[in-house]
C-alpha cells in the first residue's frame, strides 16, 4: 500500500478544485453515474435486503467512485486521488484483526460477514454524548465498564471544567481533554476493568492539539483514537495531523464517516455507495485499523428511521462481503433513556447492523446531544441484542426490523425525552431504578416473543 508521505504529497499537489466544484461538478454527477451504471435501486419495502449481488454491486460502485473522485483536502483545495491498482492493493493490505486493550480485556476485532454467527465486537458507552459534570462522566464510564459484554468504551464529552463552559480551541479544551482521560482511566479501574480500551480517545477534543495533549495524560497505545472525514469525502489537516501522531506512536485508530441521507450523496443508493468509498479512503488516507460508519437521517438527527436502514445495511453488507478490514456501525437514537421508543430503536439498529456483518458501537442515546440523557443501560441492552442477533439470517433480521420500526416511526419528529441518568439511576450503586429495569425486562420479553432470545 502506498505510504502516508505519498498521501500528504497528493494532498499538497493533487488536482485543484474549488470546494463547490468538487461537490457539484465532480462528486454529485459521479455518484449518479455509478449508481446508474451498476443498476443500484433502493427498495423501500426491505430495510435489510439479503441480495448478495446488490451488496457486491454497491461495493464495485463505491470502488469506482473512490477511483474517479478521491478525497478532497479542505486545507489545500486539492484532490487526493488513487489509481485502481492502488485501491486494490490497499484492500489487500488493509489492517486485519486489530487487537485492543490489555490483560484480561485484550481482544481482537475480527471482520465479520453477513449472517455470521460470530459475536460482534461491542464498543459501548456514550458515543460522544454530553454530560453536565465530571461526576456524571465518571459514574457513566464505571457503569459501562461493569457490563461484561463491553469490549471497549466510548466516553462522554465534558461540557464544563471547574464550572466553566469548555470552549473549543481555548486552554479550557486542553484542560478538559486531560481531565477526560484521567476520569475515564480511574473509572475503569473502579469497574475492575483496568485493561479495557478507551476507544474514542477523547470525545471532549475538537482540535488535534486538544486530543494530542490529553492523550499524554493516560491514553495507551492499546487504546484507540477516532479520526473522521468531513462529509462528503473530505479530509482536513487537523485530522491528518492526528493520524501522523498516532502512526508515529504505533497506536491505532478508527476511520469515521457519517454521510447524510439527502445531502450531496443524494438518496439511499448514493449514500450506500459513498460509504463504500469512505471505507477505502479510511484505509488509504486515514490509515485506520477499523472503519466506523453511521449514515444519518438529517430530518431527525438520528439513524433509526425506516429510510436510513437500507443504505446502512446495504453498505455494511457490501463492505463485509468484499473487504477483510473490519466495519462497525454506530446507532444514534432519537428518544431518551427509560422510554420504550429508545429501546425499540436500539433493538432495530443492532439487529439490522449485526445481521449485515457489522460490529457495533452503541452510544448515541438522545442523539448524543442532550446533557445527561444517557445511561449505562442503553449500551448494555444494545450489546445483549447484538449478541442475540449473531447468526440471524438477513431475512429474519428484516422481518424483526419491519416489526420494530413502526412502533416508533411516527414519534421520530418529536421523540420522548425520557429521563436523565440522575433521575433513573441510583447515584451510589450505579444501578438502574426498578421502573427502568421493569421496562427493560418487558422489552426483552417482547423481543423473545419475536424469536430473539436475549441471555
Amino acid at each position: 500500500m502506498i505510504d502516508f508521505f505519498e498521501v500528504i504529497k497528493r494532498a499538497l499537489n493533487g488536482p485543484y478544485y474549488s470546494e463547490q466544484d468538487f461537490n457539484i461538478k465532480l462528486l454529485v454527477p459521479k455518484v449518479r453515474e455509478v449508481v446508474k451504471e451498476y443498476g443500484i435501486r433502493y427498495d423501500p419495502e426491505t430495510p435489510v435486503p439479503d441480495d448478495d449481488q446488490l451488496a457486491d454491486d454497491v461495493f464495485q460502485a463505491g470502488l469506482a467512485l473512490c477511483e474517479e473522485v478521491g478525497c478532497y483536502c479542505k486545507d489545500t483545495s486539492r484532490v487526493i486521488r488513487f489509481s485502481r491498482e492502488e485501491i486494490l492493493e490497499a484492500l489487500r493490505d488493509a489492517p486485519v484483526n486489530p487487537i485492543f486493550g490489555e490483560g484480561r480485556d485484550r481482544k481482537a476485532m475480527i471482520a465479520r460477514r453477513p449472517e455470521s454467527a460470530e459475536s460482534p465486537y461491542c464498543y459501548l458507552g456514550s458515543g460522544g454524548g454530553v454530560v453536565s459534570s465530571e461526576e456524571v462522566f465518571a459514574r457513566l464510564v464505571e457503569g459501562y465498564g461493569r457490563n461484561p459484554l463491553t469490549d471497549s468504551v466510548t466516553c462522554p464529552t465534558l461540557t464544563k471544567i471547574n464550572g466553566m463552559d469548555v470552549v473549543a480551541g481555548s486552554p479550557l479544551e486542553l484542560l478538559a481533554c486531560i481531565r477526560s482521560v484521567e476520569l475515564a482511566r480511574a473509572a475503569l479501574r473502579r469497574a475492575q476493568r483496568p485493561g479495557l480500551p478507551i476507544m474514542n480517545s477523547i470525545a471532549t477534543a475538537v482540535t488535534a492539539a486538544g486530543k494530542i495533549t490529553g492523550s499524554a495524560f493516560g491514553l495507551r497505545d492499546t487504546d484507540c483514537w477516532v479520526i473522521g472525514f468531513t462529509s462528503p469525502l473530505k479530509v482536513q489537516f487537523e485530522r491528518l495531523n492526528e493520524v501522523a501522531y498516532v502512526i508515529a506512536r504505533g497506536g491505532q485508530h478508527i476511520g469515521e464517516c457519517g454521510e447524510i441521507l439527502g445531502g450531496y450523496a443524494g438518496g439511499p443508493e448514493g449514500v450506500a455507495v459513498v460509504v463504500v468509498a469512505y471505507h477505502i479512503l479510511s484505509i488509504l488516507v486515514l490509515r485506520a485499523s477499523v472503519h466506523l460508519t453511521f449514515p444519518m437521517d438529517f430530518r431527525y438527527g438520528c439513524n433509526t428511521s425506516w429510510e436510513i436502514q437500507w443504505p446502512t445495511t446495504v453498505s455494511t453488507q457490501a463492505i463485509s462481503r468484499n473487504s477483510h478490514h473490519p466495519v462497525m456501525n454506530l446507532t444514534y437514537t432519537a428518544a431518551g433513556p427509560m422510554t420504550e421508543m429508545c429501546l425499540y430503536e436500539i433493538a432495530a439498529g443492532q439487529i439490522a447492523r449485526v445481521a449485515s456483518g457489522g460490529h457495533i458501537e452503541y452510544g448515541g442515546t438522545s442523539k448524543a446531544v442532550k446533557a445527561d440523557f444517557l445511561t449505562p443501560l442503553e449500551p448494555r441492552f444494545a450489546s445483549q441484542v447484538a449478541h442475540a442477533s449473531a447468526g440471524l439470517s438477513r431475512a429474519e433480521a428484516n422481518e424483526l426490523v419491519k416489526t420494530l420500526i413502526p412502533k416508533y416511526k411516527d414519534q421520530l419528529a418529536d421523540p420522548p425525552k425520557g429521563l436523565k441518568f440522575q433521575e433513573c439511576y441510583d447515584w451510589d450503586s450505579i444501578e438502574p431504578n426498578q421502573e427502568y429495569l421493569d421496562l427493560y425486562g418487558r422489552i426483552k420479553d417482547e423481543l423473545a416473543g419475536y424469536g430473539l432470545r436475549i441471555e
Binding site: 463552559d165 473549543a168 479544551e173 478538559a176 475538537v206 468531513t230 438529517f298 438527527g301 448524543a368
Partner: protein
C-alpha cells in the same frame, strides 16, 4: 399560444427540475405573453422553489437538486431583472440572512441545507462557511445590511461561539439591529434563551419558519 397558467406551470416545472436553460426560456415566454414580471416571480419562480423545499422534506429530492433549482432561479432573475426595474417595482425578499458555523466548528451540511431552504423561500442568503469568528459575523452583518444572523454549532464546545456573537453585538451597541437565530444538534431553546438569541430551530425547515416569523414581527 399557451395561456398564462400553462406558462407559469412550465416555469415552475423547469425550476423544480433544475433546468437552467428551460427556466430562462420559460421566464422569457412569460414576459413575452404579457405576464407581469412580479407575477412571474411570485407564481412561477417562488412557487417552484417552495415546492422543491417541500419535496426535500419528504426525501423526494436531495441537496444537489435544491442547489440546481436555486441556480435555475438565479437564471430566471437575470431574465426578469430588466423588466422588474423598468416596471419601477422591486422584487421583494423576506430579508437578508448571513449564516455560518460558529467559531471552531467545521460541520457545515446542516447549515448548508438551511441556507438552501432559506434561498428557496426567497431570502437573500450569504453563507459565510465554517468556523466563523464573531467579529466576521459582525463585519458581514454590517456590510451586507443583514436582517438575520444565523449561527450553527454541532458540538457543545463550539456553542460558546454563538454566545460570543450575541455578546459582541451587545458590546458594540448593535444588538437590536439584527435578529440572531441559533441551531445545531446540541443547541436547545434553553440555550438560545440563556445567551439572549432571538430564536432557535431544531430542523432546517423549522429554521425557515422561524426566519419568516421574525421578519414579520
Amino acid at each position: 399560444m399557451a395561456n398564462k397558467s400553462d406558462l407559469l406551470a412550465k416555469l415552475r416545472l423547469a425550476i423544480m427540475e433544475g433546468d437552467e436553460e428551460q427556466a430562462r426560456e420559460s421566464a422569457q415566454e412569460c414576459l413575452d405573453a404579457g405576464i407581469s414580471p412580479m407575477e412571474t416571480v411570485e407564481s412561477g419562480l417562488r412557487d417552484g422553489l417552495r415546492r422543491v423545499g417541500e419535496q426535500f422534506e419528504l426525501l423526494e429530492v436531495f441537496l444537489p437538486e435544491m442547489i440546481m433549482a436555486a441556480e435555475a432561479g438565479n437564471a430566471v432573475m437575470e431574465v426578469l431583472q430588466p423588466a422588474i426595474q423598468a416596471s419601477g417595482q422591486e422584487a421583494t425578499s423576506p430579508g437578508t440572512v448571513i449564516i455560518g458555523a460558529a467559531k471552531g466548528d467545521i460541520h457545515t451540511i446542516g447549515k448548508s441545507i438551511l441556507a438552501m431552504l432559506l434561498r428557496l423561500a426567497g431570502f437573500e442568503v450569504h453563507d459565510l462557511g465554517e468556523a466563523v469568528a464573531a467579529t466576521t459575523f459582525l463585519e458581514k452583518a454590517r456590510s451586507l445590511k443583514a436582517d438575520i444572523i444565523a449561527i450553527s454549532a454541532l458540538m457543545t464546545s463550539t456553542m460558546p461561539g454563538q454566545r460570543e456573537v450575541v455578546n459582541l453585538l451587545r458590546d458594540v451597541g448593535e444588538r437590536e439591529k439584527y435578529r440572531v437565530i441559533v441551531g445545531g444538534a446540541p443547541v436547545t431553546q434553553e440555550w438560545a434563551d440563556q445567551i439572549g438569541a432571538d430564536g432557535y430551530a431544531e430542523t432546517a425547515s423549522a429554521g425557515v419558519t422561524l426566519a419568516l416569523r421574525l421578519m414579520d414581527s
